[in-house]
């Protein structure tokens, strides 16, 4: 491989890092404009370079690049390296990440216009871009873990960006704690890999993994688990934390406390998909464990349906989209579980565009209404915010899976793949994703109707001041709307059925459901036409009809439904009591445990015995040593001579 390419690859993550450092450390010197220009140029640069690498890999059919840039340390046969694995999977992620990041950078100029932490914000999002690129470009587990933690870190920083807001701090802490659970699993998985395979390098691990199919691991004495199942489930627990799969999803809705550009960039388009990406990257491992894949399938299915349901009763515009994100992440996970990794990545890509679009659209509404987010105080905004209105509709149609829109292609393929999959749990998953389609259509339209249609419900003064934000907000919306509509149509065939991912994703022979779908595939247009006779399409129609009836045609129907189905609504309103259960079990339980430990462990053992004890001990030692450290020269000399005598005694006389 030539060195020019090395430099390009290195520049892709380092440019945003450079921008982040400049904006972060010298924010005051370069000023607000300086901060956004530097970071935007840096990210734009890395987008261009990513596109170049994309072209090399995809169009010039260059073989995958697996290279170590720098060996950090070598200890005991284990290499810690920084390296890049660039194949079709990576370039898709790189392009999506840098594109969405660039859009969000531009949009932020408008959204954060009056914020005192302007430079800090740009520094964070550029830093995030760097970390995310390191994560996806990695060729080893160490760097993957580094990127994993780094995106997590920036995410916490950004959720708590408005650190004077009580709820932001709480959400921040929650995200931190829930992700720790996931990361613990992830770290455990990596540790198991290091112990079993003795390497951190993807290629080496994948090469030896098939020989370990029959190996077992005994984590607790006496209990034997299949090694690969253990490893895969541990890694997936990491993915559950990062990609907010039930039951580790609770942090994502709360993360909406952060500024909206962050919700678009981190909590919809990129970071939360890191888990999906990771599982796809690890496909050679997951393919070896049927149990792990079933686990993935079921978790994804639960998330896809039940999180979507919650979205029906939310009133905060951002939270509706957040639950929709959870649900769509569930779809991706289902695809992974059905061995349709390419479909998961395909949906990841289309979702990144239309979900970022929806978030930024919501942000546009929020700016226009001076940071009001409750949909009950909106309505009738279609005349005030025409561009936002149109783009939000396009994004929602894509999300619902209306034929010809990008979301249609990606979601339909996933449902079809689950239908064809025959591993345990696939039947359950199929029903979940089918019902999910109805729910998706309902909450999407509900959001649109409540926000843009009907009578304005906001205060008079707010309505009078509402107007479309400037070009920095609308241009990203338009730019994101284009791929949201078209990218599915143009990329489904090459990406899913054209052998696009090649060796990047490994599917075992018996599991290849996509190949089966591919045998019936006759082009995107034919697929859209064919959709008219499939249940999925009619489920979309059903959901839409319900939504139109309830929230558009007869708003009083919504009230009636609320009363009629009040127990169900209550369940959804309380979000299945996940928060309460966690609060009671873990937060309060650990508080009680902590209290107990504090009373008996801390005070008795640690305070009295260890701290006070060791303080006493240290004090005693220090006293003794202070006595020795008397400042008198002859004491010092005496100590030296005594030391000498002791050594001679030990080594000569006793020897």
């Amino acid at each position: 491989m030539n060195t020019d390419l090395h430099i390009i690859l290195l520049a892709i993550p380092l440019l945003p890092l450079f921008g982040a450092v400049l904006a972060g450390l010298f924010g005051r010197q370069i000023g607000r404009a300086g901060a956004h220009w530097i970071t935007i140029l840096a990210v734009a640069g890395s987008l261009l370079l990513s596109l170049y690498v994309f072209k090399l890999i995809v169009f010039d059919a260059m073989p995958a690049i697996n290279t170590s840039i720098y060996t950090w340390a070598v200890t005991g046969g284990l290499k810690f390296e920084i390296g890049f694995l660039i194949d079709s999977l990576t370039v898709v992620m790189m392009t999506v990440v840098t594109f969405v990041s660039l859009m969000v950078h531009i949009y932020t100029i408008g959204y954060m216009h009056d914020d005192p932490g302007y430079q800090r914000f740009f520094s964070y999002i550029a830093l995030f871009t760097f970390a995310m690129l390191m994560l996806v470009m990695s060729n080893n587990f160490l760097q993957l873990f580094f990127g994993w933690e780094a995106v997590g870190l920036v995410s916490y920083l950004l959720i708590g960006f408005w650190f004077k807001k009580e709820s932001a701090i709480f959400a921040n802490l929650k995200a931190f704690l829930v992700n720790r659970v996931g990361d613990f699993g992830f770290l455990l998985g990596i540790a198991a890999i290091v112990v079993s395979f003795g390497s951190l390098d993807y290629a080496e691990v994948f090469a030896v993994a098939p020989t370990a199919v029959d190996q077992t691991i005994s984590v607790f004495p006496g209990v034997e688990w299949a090694l690969l199942t253990f490893v895969c489930i541990c890694l997936f627990i990491g993915a559950m934390g990062k990609s907010a799969q039930a039951p580790l999803h609770v942090w994502l809705p709360d993360s909406m406390e952060g500024p909206t550009p962050i919700s678009a960039l981190i909590h919809a388009a990129t970071m939360v998909t890191a888990g999906i990406f990771m599982v796809a990257r690890m496909s050679p491992l997951f393919e070896l464990s049927e149990v792990a894949l079933s686990f993935v399938l079921v978790i994804g299915a639960i998330t896809a349906l039940f999180m979507g349901l919650i979205g029906l009763v939310q009133n905060d515009i951002k939270r509706v989209i957040a639950y929709s994100t959870l649900s769509q992440l569930g779809y991706m996970t289902v695809a992974l579980g059905a061995s349709a990794y390419s479909a998961a990545i395909f949906h990841l890509m289309t979702h990144a565009f239309f979900k970022a679009l929806l978030f930024l659209g919501a942000g546009s509404v929020i700016i226009a209404l001076h940071h009001r987010q409750d949909m009950r105080e909106m309505g009738g905004l279609r005349r005030v915010l025409p561009i936002t209105f149109v783009t939000a509709w396009l994004g929602s149609l894509a999300l619902m899976g209306v034929p010809l829109f990008s979301g249609f292609y990606s979601k339909d393929i996933i449902i079809e793949a689950v239908h064809l999959a025959n591993r345990p749990g696939a039947g359950f998953a199929y029903w979940c994703v089918l019902l999910g389609v109805v729910v998706t259509a309902m909450y999407s339209l509900r959001l649109l109707f409540l926000t843009f249609h009907g009578e304005p419900r906001m205060e008079q003064s707010v309505r009078e001041h509402a107007h479309e934000p400037g070009w920095v907000v609308t241009v990203p919306l338009i730019l994101l709307a284009i791929p949201s509509v078209f990218i599915g149509y143009f990329s489904i065939e090459p990406m899913l059925f054209g052998g696009f991912f090649g060796d990047a994703i490994h599917v075992a022979a018996g599991n290849d459901v996509l190949a089966e779908i591919g045998s019936h595939f006759h082009g995107p247009l034919a697929m859209a036409v064919h959709a008219l006779v499939t249940p999925v399409f009619w489920l979309v129609v059903l959901g839409s009809a319900l939504a139109v009836a309830i929230w558009f045609w007869k708003p009083q129907l919504a009230v009636w439904c609320r009363q009629r189905f009040s127990p169900l609504v209550h369940v959804l309103d309380r979000k299945y009591w996940f928060d309460e259960i966690y609060q009671a079990m873990f937060a309060r339980g650990s508080a009680r445990l902590g209290n107990g430990l504090w009373r008996y462990g801390d005070i008795a053992v640690i305070d009295n015995l260890m701290v006070n004890g060791s303080a006493t001990l240290v004090g005693w030692c220090a006293g003794l040593l202070r006595y020795l450290q008397s400042g008198y020269l002859y004491h010092y000399a005496f100590a030296m001579i005594v030391g000498l005598i002791m050594i001679i005694f030990t080594y000569i006389i006793l020897a």
């Binding site: 002859y634 005496f638 005594v642 005598i645 001679i648 000569i652 006389i653």
Partner: protein, 206 residues
Amino acid sequence: MTAIELVFYLFSTVLTLSALAVITVRNAVYAALFLVLAFFSSAAIWMLLEVEFLAITLVLVYVGAVMVLFLFVVMMLDMNSERVREGFARYLPVGILVALIMAGELMFVIWTKGAEKLPLPPGQSDAGANTALLGERLYTAYLYPFEIAAVILLVGIVAAIALTHTGRNPNTRYQDPSRQVSTRREDRVRIVSMPGAGSKSAEERS
């Protein structure tokens, strides 16, 4: 016991006792004189080893120069021997104990490990004078250490000056020959014209 051994033990005994006396006698001048005796005795032992140059150097440099200087310093500084010896009695038992243990350990090594006797240093051959041999080795084989030793002496001088030199005291009276030589007439002599009395301008000028 040969004559040489007799001489060796004699001087060794004197050396040990005088060294002991250096640190035990009350009078600082006596202590310095005992140190002279110790140097002298070790010079004699060196003679037995046939290293006449070192023996003579020890006498000349240490006894002749260093110790004389030392004696002057001791006599000039009116040292309060009582204050210096404060706590001496208190620490004496411990000191003696440590010294005894130390000596015991060393003797133990020498006696019990008698089987591993040290080889005797090779005696001087008749090849040439010790002094010439030493000179030759010093300036060829050991040139580098010799130079480093010279640097150490230089550092000693620099350090001593750095720690004692306080800069020139402005009140000190001294001569500056270059100023004396380069002095001009105008600096020393002032011609005063003495016009007749009563002239105003003359008074002003004076």
